[in-house]
């Protein structure tokens, strides 16, 4: 596809596991294992999955904080795999982290925090003051906030500053790793509204990572569900939340805490996921989800499932979608 802003192709990250006095490498953690993902211009793509499934590792590779072990990253049609950490690429892709407190230097005023990216990216200093004013306006903070220090700001205000800082260099993609998990729902609502407005105004794309699946359902255009470093299911928000096909997605959705009976009725009736996510240093054979899957059958132990295209937008990595293999197995209930 040519229209994509970002394309991940078989992106992988392997971390060595070291042990003992001499820190010998005794194994590897396949934190991310062959992820294919696209993000269009102006699109919001969500990544869901349990803790340790590799979401942040994907994010950190995209912004150049980690070097991929394998695979390629294409940005705006150009292979940027070798430039991920470079200044030129960093200008186009920015990141906002979960903890608004720790991502700001306590001894730096808001204006100083915003000057850092401007200086690093060689924006002429004569324009800084004007730029800072318009950035604050963009994130709906009064101009007087330029002189404030982090301890004078609320959590939501700090997150706005972090967003302003990400916007300073006019990126095309912002990676949002749990941007609102530390915020109250009322503050979260306003930050999300801000992010949506900026997206519309600047035609930005977001990669959005969160454990709040109800928020993800509302905020994301498309969603990928990761399990042990691999995407298990990918589709539009409607595909995933109205018609989840992978048993893992169904299990995840069944665990969402909701606030009304109407929402309760939207959750899959499937039993809750049992057991723990296995160690990524020791991934099960065949389908990596089989050890927790309520539908697992013989083939799941032997053959790793590939993605089955269920529609133009929806794909799921499960043998149940393969009539030849799943013939005798019970079908999934959506």
């Amino acid at each position: 596809m040519s229209g994509n802003l970002l394309e991940l192709n078989q992106l992988s990250k392997r971390f060595p596991v070291r042990k003992g006095l001499f820190q010998r490498v005794v194994g590897h953690v396949n934190a991310v294992d062959g992820v294919d993902l696209t993000i269009g211009r102006g699109e919001i793509v969500g990544l869901a999955g349990e803790s340790g499934s590799g979401k942040s590792t994907v994010a950190r590779m995209i912004v150049g904080l980690l070097t991929p072990t394998e695979g390629t990253v294409t940005f705006d049609g150009e292979d940027v795999s070798k430039q991920l950490g470079t200044l030129a690429f960093k200008r186009r892709v920015q990141m906002v982290f979960q903890n608004p407190g720790s991502s700001l230097n306590p001894r730096r005023s808001v204006a100083d925090a915003l000057k850092v990216p401007l200086r690093v990216h060689g924006v002429p200093s004569s324009t800084w003051a004007e730029r800072i004013r318009s950035l604050l306006e963009m994130v709906e903070l009064p101009a007087t906030f330029a002189q404030k220090y982090p301890h004078e700001l609320s959590g939501g205000q700090k997150q706005r500053v972090a967003i302003a800082r990400a916007l300073a260099v006019q990126p095309e993609l912002i990676v949002l790793d749990e941007p609102t998990s530390a915020l109250d729902v009322s503050v979260q609502a306003k930050v999300i509204e801000l992010l949506l407005r900026i997206r519309d105004e600047l035609d930005l794309a977001y990669l959005f990572i969160s454990h709040d699946l109800s928020l993800m359902r509302n905020f994301s255009d498309r969603v990928g569900v990761m399990y042990l470093g691999k995407l298990a299911e990918m589709g539009t928000s409607d595909d995933l939340f109205l018609r989840p096909q992978h048993p893992y997605t169904q299990g995840l959705l069944a665990s969402i805490p909701v606030v009304s009976e109407a929402e309760e009725a939207l959750k899959p009736t499937q039993r809750h996921l049992k057991g723990e996510i296995p160690s990524p240093a020791n991934v099960p054979s065949g389908c990596r989800f089989r050890t927790r899957c309520p539908h697992a059958f013989d083939a799941c132990r032997e053959v790793a499932p590939t993605f089955h295209e269920l529609s133009a937008t929806h794909a799921s990595r499960c043998h149940l979608h393969d009539p030849a293999l799943a013939g005798s197995a019970e079908p999934t209930k959506a």
Binding site: E50, K190, S214, L215, R217, N218, S255, V259, L266
Partner: protein, 332 residues
């Protein structure tokens, strides 16, 4: 003491802090009951006073700067605020326990799990004035590890926290709170993100324990979904007082205080119909709070009436809302 009296009953609790900007009147007359064997939730936004309430109950609030200016905290028929310090300390270490669901602050990374848990047993024994040897203490630890459904107790006893998954660490923290066989468990949930499956699993475990061990639970959180799933009765707190309280199902079916409604409206819904309006304005400054109903500057229904503080009006049996909209005459 009649058995139908609540295990914990907080009455008109007021707490102030001395700050640089003057006196901050944070708790403004909190009323809250935890009946025996029930699960009670306390919800509200960051800064509304949940932790101050909880710390006052546990007696861990630093005084000064804090000062309890008024109120009672009845535990099993005795007022915690007036009893001798020694007795209160004993109660704190034996009959009530806190769960901070934050593994990073509750578990020390440099000591083995078993070592940390045995320390707690030793402390709790000392408070009770009993003494057990290492073997008996270890037996108690293993018993509790089994209670929190950690199968491989011996291995976990010898493990360092880092060698365990997030879910296992959460279980250990709950286990630590059970070591002293408390009757009241207070869980203060942090804002950190647990994944939905781990959260679900931990909530189920707590639920089972409350039932099996006959515990009473006071759960403090700002996650309304968790409260709905986990509790029998909910208290909604805003700026230092309870604005609405109700049986849980009834609260979610029929939220009555404008603040509760606004808060519920902020929760993204699974049906994809989220609106992102939030609640206009912010929590008041406790050194200079608004007169009357502290929510009135942010309330779409505010009138002059609201400059006088509303009492808790009964909306339905067992369900009250501190809002003039629910004054009985107003309906007549």
């Amino acid at each position: 003491m009649p058995d139908d009296a609540p295990l914990l009953s907080v009455r008109d609790l007021r707490v102030s802090f001395r700050t640089f900007d003057g006196q901050a009147d944070v708790l403004q007359g909190v009323n809250l009951d935890v009946p025996r064997g029930t699960r009670v939730g306390l919800v509200g936004e960051s800064g509304c006073g949940k932790s101050v309430t909880m710390k006052t109950i546990m007696g861990t609030l630093a005084t000064p700067p804090a000062r309890v200016t008024h109120g009672q905290i009845m535990f099993d028929g005795q007022d915690l605020l007036t009893m001798p310090a020694a007795r209160r300390n004993r109660l704190k270490g034996t009959d009530m326990s806190m769960v901070f669901q934050d593994p990073t602050t509750s578990l020390n990374p440099v000591f083995r799990v078993g070592h940390q848990m045995e320390d707690i047993v030793r402390w709790s024994d000392r408070r009770r004035g009993i003494q057990r040897n290492h073997k008996a203490r270890k037996a108690r630890v293993l018993e509790v590890l089994e209670m929190v459904r950690l199968a491989d107790g011996e291995r976990i006893y010898d493990a360092f926290p880092i060698q365990l998954s997030g879910g296992m660490r959460q279980r250990i923290i709950i286990g630590m709170a059970l070591l002293n066989e408390p009757r009241l468990l207070i869980a203060d949930e942090p804002g950190t993100a647990l994944d939905v499956t781990t959260q679900d699993e931990i909530l189920r475990l707590m639920d089972d324990l409350v039932r099996e061990e006959g515990l009473s639970l006071l759960m403090i959180t700002h996650n309304l979904g968790v409260v709905r799933q986990m509790t029998d009765h909910v208290y909604v707190m805003y700026a230092g007082s309870v604005v609405e309280d109700s049986p849980t199902a009834e609260l979610f079916d029929n939220p009555s205080h404008p603040y509760t409604k606004a808060l519920l409206a902020c929760v993204p819904k699974l049906d994809g119909t989220a609106t992102y309006e939030g609640i206009g304005g912010s929590l008041p400054d406790y050194t200079d709070p608004p007169a009357g109903c502290r929510f009135h500057p942010r309330c779409p229904h505010a009138t002059d009436r609201c400059l006088t503080r509303p009492p808790a009006f009964t909306v339905r049996p067992g369900h009250t809302a501190a809002c003039w909209l629910h004054e009985p005459e107003a309906h007549a």
